[in-house]
Subunit: 751 residues, 2 copies
């Protein structure tokens, strides 16, 4: 079941259809952003039918008071939300005095096209005899700048009077406000000839959270003549007019958005806005556009994955990389990768364990090490808050949150907030991953150990010793498979806990840190846990056991279900889901993926063959891990099936929820599936290796990676070709054979 509303094209997300039924879906798919701000592809002009207007500014959020049915001790007081901010792209357009509203007008020649190569959104339509061509981008070269340009021309040979009111509207709200509260208030506004601005601030909150100020300042260029200014309680604007005849007239709106995240206080935020306006005011549209397009070009030079033989697959991976980079390109260490980026407001929070588990591997390969280091530093900066979270549960050490902005836990389901603690292992794993991939141990030695020791202390307190069994256990957890809650001895969680203790102990031995006060007694306790942790394993089946009760279930494969049962999360009661053997996403297999060098191919195969048939992949994070393992196990068809689910999850609206926004944190999945899956890139023990396979339907694929100061190009077709584009020669392995890569190396594709 999928819905595909955009054309298949290697670089363009395009539709010629004015979607009314799937308006929100189209808006999600045409979202753009530059890491600093972004917006859904909702129309700039008035649109009177269903639509979800959304403009978001990175790091600007609101602590909405927690809503629960029944309070449990330990719940956080607020749920932080990425909030819909000032609508600075707004216009009202009038043709011969009648307002343009595509929900009501007779529209022809409609098209919308997002060019992923250049990061430019174009939209065209003809109404009332006039053709409008909109070009819009959020500049990657100048983060505070949004540019919108309308080219207006007569389509019927007559001359029409076109009026454009260019507005900034601070009267916006979130669709998911817990108590119908308003999140914004206007602080200051002004409109004068040639410019206008409005400064709004998040309303007061009882949680001591910063009230953010956002100032949007617009100036104009083009062929239209200004006739008036407007101001209302929540809105400012400038009014322009032109005669639209056979020659196109341009109207250009340039907006500078500054915030209290970068400047302190209203006066400074506004002054910064004025300064930046002065800088861009006199530049040509072409120069602004070129700077932006060149920045995207440089990103693609490293990041692009070229697929020959499948435009669908090609479009899918590029869409994912485009939207991921639109959300986060690592420039600001205060930011992280929110679940919906700038494309929606569901779920709230800016930071999930998805970052460490699924995004870090990609940024390690496609960006400079500093970008990943920024992501790690983000968690180091939030260590005090993670300690607070542990204290809230009555536990020692640090518990990184499920969902957060500041490090303080926001989520409020006990089975997740209190129990899905495996997330704390992923934070530690990312430190290992960075260190192992880059070879840079300086982070581990300093900030890394500060984080690791506190996570280790959490685990050492969270386990309990079962006298009857003479083993340590971890009760009351939810594993990655969220279709089971409050289980005991989740193999994945127990495995991660032991690994954290081991890795931390060993790192401390290598980089002693007396300042962290790990006593001999504490180390002895850690060693005792490492030695005596219970890791459920079934002798008969010869598999790791997902958790204590799993094998008692009525075990059946997904194939035994009827089509009507799927997706379970829509068709079944929660009661049935919990008791069923069906798995939402990789759980035991997630552990096997994380520690792939610790398990034999045979172990991997047995566990994969046991668990995958019971997996429904109803988490967007599931298919990529299965694609990687399937590829390693020579299950090519399955690997491709899983790739396709992750690559076009949003483009084909697989989960029927892309209306709400894109699955940003899952977007690394298709890249992981190709690079770690199809190409079998591994970095175990600090040594790079590949063992590529080529999907039968494809002619070839190619990608680049950064690795320890080198830039490599990997091409897989009838042969496998590695090219060293930058950096010193490198010892690596291809299909298990050592290769010293100096310029390039080629070998036949192994089937």
């Amino acid at each position: 079941m999928y819905t595909r509303i955009m054309e298949t094209d290697p670089w363009i997300i395009r539709s010629q259809k004015l979607e009314t039924e799937h308006k929100r879906l189209q808006e999600s798919l045409t979202s753009i952003g530059n890491g600093y701000m972004g917006a859904r592809g909702s129309f700039e002009e008035s649109y009177s039918a269903d639509s979800h207007l959304g403009t978001y500014i990175a790091g600007v959020w609101f602590p909405d008071k927690t809503r629960v049915g029944w309070w449990k001790n330990g719940y956080p007081k607020y749920f932080g939300k990425a909030i819909n901010a000032v609508n600075f792209a707004k216009v009202k357009i009038f043709v011969d005095g009648s307002e343009v509203d595509l929900a009501k007008n007779q529209v022809s020649d409609f098209s919308v096209a997002l060019n992923m190569q250049t990061g430019v959104l174009r939209r065209s339509f003809t109404v009332s005899g006039v053709k409008f061509d909109l070009t819009k981008f959020f500049s990657v070269a100048r983060k505070e700048l949004a540019v919108l340009r309308w080219d207006v021309v007569s389509a019927d040979g007559k001359t029409h009077k076109v009026r454009i009111e260019s507005l900034i509207d601070a009267d916006v709200k979130n669709e998911d406000s817990n108590y119908e509260g308003k999140f914004w208030q206007v602080l200051d506004k002004a409109a004068q000839t040639g410019e206008s601005h409005i400064a709004s601030q998040t309303v007061e909150n009882p949680f001591g959270v910063e009230q953010f100020i956002v100032n949007a300042h617009q100036v104009f260029a083009g062929d239209f003549a200004e006739t008036a200014q407007t101001a209302a309680d929540w809105q400012v604007g400038n009014v322009f007019e032109a005669e639209a005849g056979s020659e196109a007239k341009a109207f250009e709106k340039r907006v500078i958005v500054t915030t209290s995240r970068d400047y302190q206080g209203l006066a400074a935020v506004e002054a910064a806005g004025r300064d930046l306006v002065a800088k861009i005011k006199n530049e040509t549209f072409e120069d602004l556009l070129a700077a932006h397009e060149n920045s995207w070009k440089r990103r693609w030079e490293i990041a692009d994955v070229v697929i020959e033989g499948s435009d669908e697959a090609q479009q899918g991976i590029r869409f994912n990389l485009f939207q991921l980079f639109s959300t986060y390109y690592g420039e600001d260490a205060r930011l992280n990768i929110g679940p919906k980026g700038f494309t929606g407001e569901k779920y709230g929070g800016a930071t999930y364990w998805d970052t460490e588990a699924y995004a870090v591997p990609l940024y390690l390969s496609l960006a400079e090490p500093q970008v990943t280091r920024n992501l790690l530093q983000y968690r180091r900066n939030q260590l005090p808050q993670a300690q607070h979270n542990a204290r809230e549960q009555g536990l020692a050490g640090a518990l990184y949150p499920m969902v957060t902005f500041t490090g303080i836990e926001c989520h409020n389901e006990w089975e997740i907030t209190f129990e899905e603690i495996h997330r704390n292992g992923a934070i530690a794993y990312a430190i290992y991953n960075y260190t192992n991939y880059t070879g840079d141990e300086t982070y581990l030695a300093k900030e890394g150990l500060e984080v690791l020791v506190e996570i280790a202390r959490f685990w050492a307190d969270r386990v309990h010793f079962s006298k009857r069994n003479g083993q340590y256990m971890i009760h009351g957890v939810t594993g990655p498979n969220e279709y089971e809650n409050n289980i005991n001895n989740n193999w994945y969680t127990n495995t991660l806990a032991v690994w954290v203790l081991t890795y931390t102990r060993d790192a401390l031995a290598k980089y002693p840190r007396p300042d962290l006060c790990v006593s001999a007694d504490e180390l002895a306790k850690w060693n005792d846990i490492i030695e005596k942790m219970y890791l459920p394993f079934d002798q008969e089946l010869n598999v790791f056991v997902q958790h204590d009760g799993f094998l008692d279930k009525d075990l059946r494969p997904v194939s035994a279900l009827s089509k009507d049962d799927l997706p379970l999360n829509q068709k079944w009661s929660w009661d049935k889901i919990l008791r069923s053997p069906f798995i939402k996403q990789a759980d035991v297999l997630q552990g096997i993926y994380f520690f792939g060098d610790k398990f034999s191919l045979d172990e991997k195969r047995r566990n994969y063959d046991f668990y995958e048939p019971m997996t429904v992949h109803e988490s967007s994070l599931s298919p990529s891990i299965h694609a990687i393992l399937a590829a390693e196990l020579g299950k090519g068809e399955k690997a491709v099936e899983m790739y396709e689910r992750t690559a076009r999850l949003d483009l084909d609206n697989y989960n029927n929820d892309t209306d709400d926004g894109l699955h940003i944190t899952s977007m690394t999945g298709s890249w992981l599936a190709i690079v770690q899956g199809f190409a079998q890139m591994k970095t175990w023990g600090g040594r790079l290796s590949f063992a590529p396979f080529l999907p039968t339907a494809w002619k070839g694929y190619a990608f680049h990676i950064n690795y320890r100061g080198r830039l490599l190009k990997v091409e897989v077709g009838t042969e496998v070709k590695l090219t060293l584009l930058k950096g010193e020669a490198l010892e690596l392995s291809v299909y298990g054979e050592p290769v010293k890569l100096e310029n390039s190396f080629a070998t036949a594709l192994k089937k």
Copy 2:
């Protein structure tokens, strides 16, 4: 830790203190009701400090839209709430033009006294030189009638002008509205000389739930002269004045409350009000009071438990019986026993499994069989809704709700709503209990089997067969111990499930019901489950195991905790509570109590000794079951300790939450502790037996019971004396010896 604000007296709940700090607690403790309506003891006149005004009418409720943080499939759409209804007791009192407000006035001679023997609440105070004596009762003889009488006299020798505005105020709200919604609207109102009335109706709801109409109609008597009438949007009233001199002047307010539960439509509800007003208008206060007091007297003749040697214990049991009967005396088969009765609005719902598990045994002994039969019939009437509840979970048969008004589940915590399904066993158990106690099998044969078969079908679908173990299991439940959730194979739940299947099968064999279409295959499946159900038992410890993971916990007694840890539900995070071995209320022991004839004294002792030390009794339903078992096991001191916790739970505010209202459904606990505990009354196999013990601090205790057409009096002191007050001779057992009771029988107390 307890708070005792009322004097200790065998029959009176009295205080001379105008409580400001514990105002809500005092209000809860001075609640009165007559099964049809009731109110907290909040003041009738204006009181400008903190207070919780609450007036409730049985069966009048509102479906408040469900509030959750995260929706789960299967959640009900609304949460039914017993709602605060029209405040018909309201007055404004003025002395020489100044309004009486005890929060602001200089007050002397304050006293409040609830006489439990007569069901009359009295309150006195002197302000501004005038003494007021209020007498208030909700007539048990005429359910629609509330009477309030103020006797007013000068206290300083001067004459004062006293004005009383007697109001009916429909502008009331619930403290726990989910979305700050208003639940009431005014339909009609009128005020004229000598009377006024207001009819209000619950507002519209999207769930198809009946909108209740409540009409309150007041008339007056006494020495005051009417001077005016008042009306406002939400309020009507009549104004009276008198000179208060040395001779007392009486002002009497009589209110008739009629509702759409008894009369259809506004006109009929109002007309019924007028008719009833006409009936009571000309009666004397003394006659109205006497009729009411006589009704209470008749109740006490059967129900009273006399305790010699402890006024505290005496007051405790009477308070519980009084409040229980004020809530429910079995007159109306459409009603049930709400968790807070007419004393508060927390928790919502009218019906919990508490009724079947804890209240039925008391009503069986203290009321006519018809009362219990009404309680059973209530569930039979809600069978279609219980089937609906099962369907919502994707299951066969019927699932009785956790919380309800109509039978439709209202509660919305997945771990309770979906998982605390043992409640379904208690519904069946009550049918057995009624049948076994009364000897009347006609209910079982007809309505009983209709309910039993559907409950049996639920269990047969809810179990699963674990191939690995070759046994049936029940995963994903919450037992009576709500400090563990989503556990597997709760011994209590599994035991109840097998018992339901067995009892239903056997009853069907005795009373064939082809109309219920239980097929041979279905019976075979039931038999297979009965035979192969997994009931966790530990060989080494020789105890039944609470659930699969219990023995893996870090098992410790409550005595190992510090005082600062208790109560756990206030001091610990939910995470710590869930993982701990500490038990909220009887779980395995609840099963041993239900099926006491199936277990040897040795089995009882082993399980009691294993589980009780880990039990924190943080449910008000816990101590009574432990008192009963402790008494049986000869643990007298423990039995008394447990009795004291249940008997004075509210009077001494043990759980620090009586402010919110009384624990009505737990109030049977002290009676159970004395009758089934101290006196060891049992009815196994349809044979009555006693084996009394006397707490060392007491001189004696006595109670009555109805049993199969007899009325017995049981006296326990230096000897145990049974007297047959009514009915035919009866074969029973005392201390295991057969006794044929004709008139009376006495034997020495066994120590």
